[in-house]
């Protein structure tokens, strides 16, 4: 078991290293001169050359790469071209806002998806099931940013109920800013949970132990909760892990729509500057999140299902 964990940790590091290396190489190929971006459009050639020397852009690529790796080990992925500050702390500062929105968004997906999944499995192949399942597909087919704008228009602008965007802080008044983006994400993402849960519950319902429980005279509701839902939730763990891991990527668009001051909107601000260090910082964060959550999912499985063993 400890051998398995050690092995996994090594592969996690290799994966993150690979992701960073690929991103770094792509960044190295940028046709525009990073020294020129940092120095500004009006800088003299002498200034640009001085900046290039300062940041080491004039050195061969292997020297730059080794230095990059060395710096990454010291949690430094470089200085943002656009914001002129160390990129990783810039991204970390915004992690709080992104984390808050990410958790609220995934929670909204669960709050919408799980009940609908149970409902459609229970009433499967009825008109209600067809209607709700269809609604879920339609919801998941909407571009998140478009549905967000639609909600801003209808709820915030026309009805004037919630703020059109921005960040309300962590205080008691902050939640109202969280509702629209979270609901947007929740409705467009609920289908993944709803459909998965429906399929999984229908599978479990067909199994012997459920029939036995019914035969023993347990009520419909008792069977549903005690035997079906508990067993049918397993695949949801994987989905939740994958979903949480990919939130950072999904939030890039959502934060932009709602003007949310998180990592995503920070990255979008720097698109035009091809801000390689900032992109490296966000990529590092996202890839660490993915490998750690994948590992966590496997550990949860290990704890939940005694039949699985990793040796």
């Amino acid at each position: 078991m400890s051998r398995y964990i050690a092995q996994r940790l090594v592969w996690m590091l290799v994966t993150v290293w690979g992701v960073l290396t690929i991103t770094w190489v792509i960044g190295f190929l940028v046709p525009s001169d990073p020294a020129r971006i940092i120095a500004g459009v009006h800088a003299t050639p002498q200034t640009v050359a001085a900046v290039a020397r300062l940041y080491g852009f004039n050195q061969p690529f292997y020297v730059q790469y080794v230095r990059f790796l060395w710096n990454v080990l010291h949690l430094n992925v470089g200085t943002s071209y656009h914001f002129h500050a160390s990129a990783l702390p810039l991204v970390m500062q915004r992690l709080g806002a992104t984390g808050e929105l990410g958790l609220a968004a995934v929670l909204a997906e669960l709050l919408i998806g799980v009940p609908l999944g149970i409902l459609t499995a229970q009433r499967r192949d009825t008109r209600l099931d067809v209607l709700v399942s269809g609604g879920l597909v339609a919801g998941s087919s909407m571009p998140t940013y478009w549905f967000g704008i639609l909600l801003i228009y209808v709820v915030a602008f026309k009805a004037g109920i919630l703020p059109v965007g921005g960040f309300g802080g962590y205080g008691p008044g902050g939640w109202s800013y969280l509702v629209l983006p979270a609901v947007t994400y929740g409705i467009t993402g609920a289908a993944y949970y709803g459909r998965l849960l429906r399929a999984s519950l229908i599978d479990v319902m067909a199994q012997d132990h459920v029939r036995t429980a019914r035969a023993k005279g347990l009520s419909g509701r008792g069977v549903l909760w005690r035997h079906v839902v508990r067993n049918g939730l397993m695949p949801l763990v994987t989905q939740l892990g994958i979903d949480l891991a990919n939130t950072l990527s999904g939030l890039i668009v959502l934060e932009t729509v709602f003007d949310w001051p998180g990592v995503g909107s920070l990255v979008v601000q720097a698109i035009d500057y091809v801000d390689v260090p900032l992109i490296l910082a966000a990529t590092l964060l996202a890839s660490v999140l993915v490998v750690v959550l994948n590992f966590a999912v496997d550990l949860v499985y290990l704890a939940l299902d005694p039949r699985i063993s990793y040796t």
Partner: protein, 298 residues
């Protein structure tokens, strides 16, 4: 008596499941026709854009703006879906925009389907070090923040259609490769492949004749599902301003432009998003009925 050929042995041992084939079951579902019809219509509109489009999509019509220079609302004379802030015809831009959506949506999926199936097949068939190397690569691809990666690649190499298409396709290979690998392991373990190996068929022949057709059936619905994701992703890229440069008619960019005048001209953001949604629904339904057909065949 002549020894039976490899293919005869294989055909005899490869017992077809009873009942109608996957394709028949796929075609029999009403939603296949509904979604398939929509996709077909969209392809025709995209191909025939110069014929179908009522106006030039990029031309700012002087009569496309009101007296005070505001965009015309839908159902205006000559502009059925209204005009944008430059006086361009929204309907014509939507029609031309379908080209980009289909190009990137289907193109990226094709890249992912071919590349992913090959990677998965090679990993599952040769196992060992090849398998480990390929699956590590797949893990890396899955650890990339998708949207960020595509934005970055577009920013570095230029936001042209082929580059966006390939960038999305490369990342989408990863889930397909995983699926193809699992399926290949399953196929290789089957009796008929053993029979083919025993009668001296080469590895390449086994892969080409027995693994590929079986794999494509399995992987196709996921590739279809990806078409929808790819279209949404490309439009999101354009929405964020990292897509093909203006004035290219692009549904995502149109939503962005529409958002600028959200309170006064809401139709500008609404229609392009609706187009994306309907297109994605159609591809998702096709994928869904193919999956249903596969499950029913087993």
């Amino acid at each position: 008596m002549l020894a039976p050929s490899v293919d005869e042995v294989v055909r005899a041992s490869d017992v077809e499941p009873r009942g109608p084939s996957t394709l028949v079951r796929f075609v029999r579902q009403p939603r296949t026709w509904l979604a398939g019809g929509f996709v077909l219509l969209l392809i025709l509109v995209a191909l025939g854009a110069p014929l179908v489009s009522p106006k030039n999509p990029d031309f700012p019509y002087p009569n496309g703006l009101s007296m005070i220079g505001a965009p015309l609302p839908p159902l205006s004379a000559g502009f059925p879906l209204g005009t944008d802030s430059l006086g361009r015809d929204v309907l014509s831009r939507l029609i031309w925009g379908s080209r980009l959506a289909l190009e990137v949506g289907v193109g990226s999926s094709a890249v992912a389907l071919v590349g992913g199936t090959l990677l998965g097949m090679v990993a599952g068939y040769f196992k060992g070090a090849v398998d480990v190397a390929i699956m590590r690569w797949v893990d890396m691809m899955l650890a990339f923040p998708f949207v960020l990666f595509v934005i970055f690649v577009a920013a570095v190499f230029g936001s042209s259609v082929p580059i966006i298409l390939v960038a999305i396709g490369i990342l989408q290979m990863a889930p397909i490769a995983r699926l193809a690998r699992a399926k290949t392991l399953e196929i290789v373990a089957m009796a008929y492949v053993e029979a083919a190996t025993a009668s001296g068929a080469s590895r390449a022949r086994i892969l080409a004749r027995h693994a590929v057709p079986n794999l494509v059936t399995t992987v196709l619905p996921y590739a279809l599902l990806q078409v929808g994701t790819n279209i949404t992703l490309e439009s999101a890229l354009s929405y964020l301003g990292a897509g093909p440069p203006p004035p290219t008619p692009d549904w995502g960019a149109m939503v962005n432009e529409g958002q600028q005048g959200l309170t006064t001209t809401p139709w500008l953001f609404f229609f392009p998003g609706l187009c994306i949604m309907l297109t994605v629904v159609a591809f998702n339904l096709l994928a869904d009925s193919w999956l249903t057909a596969i499950r029913a065949t087993r």
